[in-house]
């Protein structure tokens, strides 16, 4: 009788890269259906062309370079689908075909394939076509904002991704299932909410300064501005921002791996998107902002390497130093050693 021997662990999770990709595709399907309903057959054409082009490109590249063909893992298909959602449905079909080709070839395989690319391939393809053929890539309309019903069906959507922000709820389910990490989306979204409010507060204070107001209560009252939704806040609720938060920024290879790093990366994304959105527009701003954040992702990663386990952080050290000086009779904290 022969037995298999191998190194531990002898039981592993069934979750793998394939599952991750296909679950992301499934999470995006409701949105695709809504987009097809909204824009009609051209939207379907763009999705199909983009996905097919991405898969064929990957197959061709891996075939030519005699690598193992990995189109079945769904990564190329997922990239193609995400890219299609960012292309206006009026664009001619060669646009998605070229964009998907560019994404997979330059964005992914030039950098070394799965896990090695530094820029999200979808954004690489999108930014290239956006810059090269900006006429075709400009959306016909921009999202309406301000009404709650726009969350369910956005009539002003120019891109497929914008048709129904609520249908991106699949991404939230993926976070709940721990298929994608919560730190990046959470800190990204929080930044996107806090920054417009802070801006409202600052501009209120600046107004008072210009008027020459000296009453401190007037300045204090500006604090309430933090709680009244600023007009810019509703830009954080459009489809493409949700898409960016849930699917673009959480792309595993282009975000840092350290715990602290992921939070900082989310905040970086939020700040960049806000700056871009505030001075230009939010639809392009999300994609350019995340692209710029990708540039600093590995910088964030190497600077947030955790210290050796059990090492006290700066704050803990300071707290210890203070607490050690206080006589124990005054302390409320739990006594560690008997």
């Amino acid at each position: 009788m022969t037995y298999t021997i191998s190194a531990p662990p002898h039981k592993k999770t069934k979750f793998d890269f394939k599952t991750l990709n296909y679950s992301k595709i499934i999470a995006l399907l409701p949105l695709c259906l809504a987009a097809i309903y909204f824009f009609g057959i051209p939207a379907l054409g763009i999705i199909v062309v983009s996905v097919v082009s991405a898969v064929v490109t990957e197959f061709a590249i891996q075939g030519i370079f005699k690598q193992k063909v990995t189109i079945t893992d769904g990564h190329a298909a997922m990239m193609g689908l995400m890219l299609a959602l960012l292309i206006p449905p009026e664009a001619p079909l060669w646009i998605p075909a070229f964009a998907a080709f560019f994404s997979i070839s330059v964005g992914k395989h030039v950098f070394g394939g799965i896990g090695s690319y530094i820029f999200n391939p979808v954004l690489v393809g999108w930014i290239f076509t956006r810059s090269a053929w900006s006429g075709y890539m400009t959306a016909a309309s921009i999202p309406h904002i301000g009404q709650f019903s726009d969350l369910i069906l956005e009539h002003g959507a120019g891109l497929m991704v914008g048709v129904s922000p609520i249908l991106l709820i699949g991404g939230v389910y993926l976070i709940y299932k721990r298929y994608i990490d919560w730190r990046v989306p959470f800190s990204f979204f929080a930044t996107m909410i806090i920054l417009p409010q802070a801006l409202l507060f600052i501009s209120g204070v600046m107004d008072l300064v210009h008027k020459g107001s000296l009453n401190p209560l007037m300045y204090m009252s500006q604090m309430f501005a933090l709680f009244s939704p600023s007009p810019e806040l509703s830009y954080s609720m459009i489809g493409i921002v949700f898409f960016g938060i849930l699917f673009m920024a959480t792309d595993t290879a282009t975000s840092p791996v350290t715990k602290k790093g992921r939070i900082i990366y989310g905040i970086t994304c939020g700040v960049l998107v806000f700056i871009y959105g505030h001075f230009a527009n939010y639809v392009d701003g999300v994609l350019y902002g995340i692209f710029l954040a990708n540039c600093v992702a590995s910088f964030i990663e190497i600077n947030t390497m955790p210290a050796s386990f059990g090492t006290m952080s700066c704050a803990e050290n300071a707290y210890r130093r203070v607490m050690d000086k206080i006589p124990s009779s005054l302390k409320f904290e739990v006594i560690n050693n008997e």
Partner: protein, 447 residues
């Protein structure tokens, strides 16, 4: 819960002369001798060793190197058992003095499940123990050896007192698992020195030191979440007592002795009945739908244990000591030793065969790592032989729990790579601490 007892005698018993970390025992018998149950067949003059006793009555047919569940071959006494219950005379010795208790433990062959001889844990050379912990978290409820849960609780308390006496320690604690309701109920409200004890959870900075004060008692019972792993002791000590055990030190360096349920029970039996440590309860997984428990004599080959459940299906993998960090066996003729806690059978179709792909940086390993490492980075560095960089990112902190490799969606053998790097670093640097254990030595005579 029912517990089976293995009654059928195997064809031969393989009793390794080293069932602990430390010196190999010298055999006290020779080929052709007749041995009785409980007869001492091996001992060593070294302090770091533990006596070995025969678990059956029979004839010694060989003393030779035989497979050991840790993957190596070890000098073993092979006994052909005969159907007889003849044993050496056991005499209870309840009034052993504190300073002789350690020697008594060594003579009784009591060994911790992680390999250290119990007396070496309780009375380490040159160190002073002030707290004894019984770790009841990783051992499953071993009902069969006790008649009722109440018995279990009271015997554990007695055993803890004995351990404290042997170590000369003032304080002692039993650590349960929060989801193990059966044990918690057993211990809830138990009386020690006319004081009712409560099972208290370890939360935040409320560690045992806090509860010693709050309950105003030298013995406390606490509960904590389950933790896995092989080099987990330092981490366990930190969680329970709040004492930071540096890398390369053992809990004994900070005055803490960690014992398991099995050794506590063995000590209780040795003191109250005079029986040395020659049988143990192992859990068997995979032979039926549920977890099976069986009381076996030390030295029984795994094959006989598996056969006793009437399992006839094909076997793909036999794993000693759990699927997370256990060792896959190349033969079923390995014996149950004092350190064996679980035997897992996997059918051929259950054996995982994965192909590793590139790391996708999903950071799941970072999220599960209990000691705040970046396992994915360590794996890459180890794979490329960049061991210096592994050291810079604290590879020595790894407790080899295997969580990272278990959750990896790219199926990268992270744990194996980390061990590889650790071994390489160990050979290159002399300032590193002595290794606790190794499953496989390169160039060993196995397989």
């Amino acid at each position: 819960m029912e517990i089976k007892k293995l009654d059928t005698l195997p064809e031969k018993m393989i009793i390794p002369l080293r069932q602990h970390r430390g010196a190999v025992c010298e055999p006290l018998v020779k080929k052709g001798d007749r041995v009785l149950i409980g007869q001492k067949i091996g001992e060593s003059a070294e302090y770091q060793s533990s006596a070995v006793h025969s678990s059956v009555c029979g004839e010694v047919i060989a003393i030779e190197e035989a497979p050991h569940p840790d993957g190596n071959k070890v000098m073993s006494v092979i006994i052909q058992p005969e159907d007889s219950n003849e044993s050496v005379e056991f005499s209870a010795c309840k009034d052993v003095k504190s300073d002789q208790l350690a020697q008594f433990i060594k003579e009784s062959g009591i060994v911790e499940h992680y390999g250290m001889p119990t007396h070496a844990v309780l009375r380490p050379k040159g160190k002073k123990i002030d707290t004894v912990l019984i770790n009841a978290t990783s051992s499953e409820w071993i009902g069969g050896t006790f008649k009722t849960p109440g018995d279990y609780a009271s015997q554990m308390i007695d055993a803890l007192k004995l351990l404290m006496k042997a170590a000369g320690a003032k304080k002692g604690a039993i650590v349960l698992r929060t989801d193990d309701k059966e044990s918690i109920n057993a211990f809830e409200g138990i009386e020690v020195d006319n004081k009712k004890l409560k099972v208290s959870p370890l939360i935040g900075s409320r560690n045992v030191g806090y509860y010693f004060n709050e309950h105003n008692s030298d013995i406390v019972i606490v509960s904590q979440e389950r933790i896995f792993g092989k080099k987990i002791l330092n981490f366990f000590t930190y969680r329970v007592t709040g004492r930071n055990v540096n890398i390369g030190c053992s809990p004994t360096d900070v005055g803490v002795a960690v014992c398991g349920i099995k050794s506590a029970k063995a000590l209780y039996d040795a003191v109250h009945e005079g029986v040395p440590f020659y049988d143990t309860v192992v859990s068997v997984e995979g032979v039926s739908n549920k977890m099976e428990y069986i009381l076996v004599r030390i030295g029984t080959p795994f094959k006989d244990v598996i056969d006793s459940f009437g399992y006839t299906g094909a076997i793909g993998k036999i794993i000693a000591n759990g699927v997370r960090t256990g060792v896959a066996q190349y033969t079923d003729q390995v014996p149950v030793t004092k350190g064996t806690t679980r035997i897992t059978i996997q059918k051929p179709e259950e054996v995982i065969r994965d192909e590793a792909i590139e790391c996708i940086h999903c950071a799941r390993c970072v999220d599960v790592c209990p000691v705040e490492l970046i396992p994915s980075r360590l794996a890459v560095m180890a794979d490329q032989g960049r061991f210096d960089e592994c050291r810079q990112i604290h590879i020595e902190n790894c407790i080899e729990c295997g969580d990272c490799a278990a959750v990896c969606p790219s199926k990268i053998p992270i744990l194996q790579l980390i061990r590889y790097a650790k071994d390489a670093i160990e050979m290159a640097y002399e300032d590193l601490p002595e290794k606790e254990s190794s499953n496989l030595k390169v160039g060993c005579g196995c397989g």
